[in-house]
């Protein structure tokens, strides 16, 4: 175990002597946390709406003015020709078409209303669904004014944990995860493969350094770096966006440590199996994409098929993103997230073992 201390010192010296890496570690988290929340905005706003008004009645003009007044909609076209509206949609200049059928006012007054048709461009499914909902909500407001019986049922809505539904608050915890993912995946893998390509790994191989010591010396620096990165990120987000964790900060650090353990172990495993930089990058890229997009970063895990949900149990990102979102926004306790912590512990141990076993040192 004595040699471990010196090996870690070697890694630290190499890290410091590198012109690029220290700067990267300090600047990257700050820049990403400053910019990313501005970019990662999937809020659905300014939905472009075309209205096909075939009725041209008092009621339909009331509906139109309600639609025009909605904050989330921007009225682009009013026409009585469905084809014209559809061309607009095809050209990407409208997201939603709302068509009021001819004779609507009359049928509405008679109590047997014809249906208002809402077409949404669902190439972007979320935008399509929400855009259609906004239109229905706004038009419904106009109808309710005209016919108070529609108001019989009343609904009020409250959003917990993020009352203004600020999308940034949803993405920030997940971006901290991505940050640690990128740092703890790519840097250890590149570092190790570079030693292979330069041949310096051979020099280590001929020394009596044990597998365990060598692997640990490649992992421990990244656990430290992971914790530095998350501290930077938490501070940046807190100071700039005013978002501080609602839950236990110790819980966040514990999760970050376990996640860094799992990811750096994984990275070293990939590096052990690759001979060239090209190979390791492509493989890493594949897994990073997988971890990101299937870990619940952008799309809800709950809407995946059941088998895929099972597969994601093996993704450290899934657990860490869940933990971060709950701790940051909802103030969930560590005990309530026990299952996710357990997942991270298991994955952390698993990948550390694979990292050690896959290091092929000829004894």
């Amino acid at each position: 175990m004595g040699s471990l201390k010196f090996l870690i010192r070697k890694e630290m010296i190499q890290f410091r002597r590198n012109k690029f890496l220290p700067r990267l570690i300090f600047a990257f988290p700050v820049v990403i946390m400053l910019v990313a929340p501005l970019i990662a905005n999937m809020d659905v706003k300014g939905v472009k709406l075309a209205v096909v008004d075939m009725d041209r009645s008092e009621l339909s003009s009331r509906i139109r003015s309600h639609l025009g007044a909605s904050d989330n909609l921007s009225l682009r076209l009013v026409t009585d020709d469905y084809h014209e509206a559809f061309c607009l949609l095809e050209a990407g200049k409208a997201d939603v078409i709302l068509s009021i059928p001819a004779g609507f006012e009359h049928s509405f007054a008679s109590g047997q209303p014809e249906k208002i048709k809402v077409d949404a461009n669902a190439v972007n499914a979320t935008r399509g669904t929400l855009g259609a909902q906004y239109a229905v909500l706004a038009a419904g407001g106009a109808l309710r004014e005209m016919n108070p019986t529609l108001q019989a049922e009343e609904m009020s809505v409250r959003y917990f944990y993020n009352e203004t539904l600020d999308y940034r608050f949803y993405m920030i915890p997940a971006f901290i995860v991505i940050l640690i993912l990128l740092v703890c995946c790519f840097i250890p893998a590149l570092n190790l493969v570079q030693e292979k390509e330069k041949g310096t790994i051979e020099q280590i191989n001929v020394t009596p350094v044990s597998k365990l010591d060598f692997t640990l010396s490649k992992l421990i620096p990244y656990w430290v770096i992971g914790l530095v990165v998350i501290s930077e990120a938490i501070l940046t987000v807190g100071l700039v966006y005013g978002l501080w964790p609602a839950g236990n900060i110790g819980g966040i650090y514990l999760a970050a440590f376990l996640f860094a353990l799992a990811m750096s172990g994984f990275a070293v495993t990939v590096a052990n199996f690759s001979d060239t930089l090209q190979q390791s990058i492509f493989v890493m890229f594949f897994f990073v994409m997988l971890f990101m997009l299937m870990g619940g970063l952008l799309t809800p895990i709950g809407s995946m098929p059941a088998w895929a949900q099972w597969v994601t149990q093996a993704f450290p990102t899934r657990h860490f993103i869940a933990i971060m979102r709950s701790l940051y926004l909802k103030g969930t306790t560590v005990a309530e997230l026990g299952i996710n912590y357990l997942g991270l512990v298991i994955l952390g141990i698993f990948f550390s073992i694979t990292a050690m076993v896959s290091y092929r040192k000829q004894e």
Binding site: M42, G92, I116, E154, T332
Partner: protein, 352 residues
Amino acid sequence: MQIKLSSFVRKEMLHILRDPRTMLVVLVIPVVLILLFGFTVSTDVNHIDVAVCAPVRSDAVRKTLERLCRTDLFRFKGFIDVPDIDTRLRTGKASAVVVLADDYETSGRYQVILDGADVNTARVSEGYLRGVIGGGGQDLFVMQQVYNPEMKSAFNFIPGILGMIFLLICAIMTSVSIVREKETGTMEVLLVSPVKPAYIIVSKMIPYLLLSLVDLAIILLLAYYVLDVPLSGGVWNIILFSVVYLVLALALGMVVSNVAKSQIAALLMSALVMMMPVLFFSGMLFPPDNLPWALRWITYIIPARWYIDAMRKLMIEGVGLRSVLLEGGILLAETLALLAAAMKRFSDRLEG
């Protein structure tokens, strides 16, 4: 010259073929990515866990509950009491709670409490609940999705993945492989051969271009036959755009390889100037419309943005070539500019 160029291409081919693992990785990974995303990732919201809080279990409550359970959208998670609402939402055991008033039978008043931490899910759930529980003239509307009626999110991801993978293969792989020749010193050996320097670079690109075309073919076949992406804008248009984009990516790789001195530097440079912008600014994941104006300007210079835009139109919306002329023009201009920059830098370096 022809013969020499072809023998150089053969050399590069051999480099790649001798490394079957990289080949396998380059060919298999896009397939796996497309299939996994096609079948699993979806932005649709369904199976919303709903708990109901109803102090008085009247007939009206039971009817509302029946309506909730009838659709696939909701999973009923049992009745709860008011103090439990926060716990349920906080632990994620429910993402929405419907509170029916004591006098629900007569007044129809109810409240929906949602887990606002997940913004879009909360919004969509609200709309669905409103629609199912009713009130406010919801039944006057009929909603319909044009394009992508089953709302497969894969449709949205495929153009993005194409844009990403081509950049990876063409730009990153070529730049790394050129810089590796520099690092190992074999570049000097190549430069003293009687072949024009430009041909050396061209011969490095051809194998990666071919590999990318194979990938393109595989992805298009998968998209059409397995994922039912319509590709209604015409396969040849798609291929045309992709080839332009591939050349652009190759030129980008050349620029990087001219600047970078080591493989790691080439990689980090590619990651910083290519991967990050593509992930963030290309519209692959996040809609550019939502960006603050200053950042939106950045997206206008990112080639992947135009490529992904054009691909979405051609693959999913099925509009003709005329609707993507703008995207095509910009891509072409950027390609030419990058090619010129790459060639200029290259000859500068040789003479200097």
